[in-house]
Assembly symmetry: C2
Homo-oligomer: 103 residues x 2
């Protein structure tokens, strides 16, 4: 399996981010061919009430590196990438690599 | 769904980290009751060859917050937590929150 993790920084306008992510970006990304599983999580504050390190964590699973490449290069993937500036101006960290299913 | 994401910093000794993680820590964590899915990914370098922001990304899925709490409080969860100092001295960022399955 090959996994793309996107760690979104805290946005200036969380309400606008949430609306755009759930109504526009997630539906766009979910259409990418070869995407096997796609989850996104909204971390809560730490045990001490501190702000979490990231605002949203998206995890996208593909069969292999070629599958991720094909998905990102597809019309749907390009639309999802082109949509990033529309809501993720605060920046995001992308991590891409082989993954193991432990359970 | 409720998700725990663990972002491990780059270890001083990657070979020792890998061995401990795959042979000891992952099998311990995988035994936690209520754990629905558990993957770990090893991010590769960025397109410019830069070191990825984190060394390893673990994503653990539970039914809900109570399920995560019960897993962490279980004998198996406590063993997994107690094992962290044995390999993760470089530190890790934990993110915990509700997750949506988009695909």
């Amino acid at each position: 399996m090959f996994q793309l993790t996107v760690l979104y920084n805290h946005p200036e306008d969380p309400v606008a981010f949430d609306k755009h992510y759930t109504e526009v970006h997630a539906p766009l990304a979910a259409k990418m061919p070869g995407l096997r599983r796609y989850t996104y999580a909204k971390p809560g504050p730490g045990p001490d009430g501190s702000q979490p390190a990231y605002y949203l964590v998206a995890v996208l699973d593909f069969d292999d590196e070629a599958g991720l490449g094909a998905a990102m290069g597809s019309e749907e993937g390009q639309a999802a990438s082109a949509d990033l500036p529309n809501f993720a101006g605060a920046g995001a960290t992308l991590l891409v690599g082989p993954a193991t299913v432990a359970t």
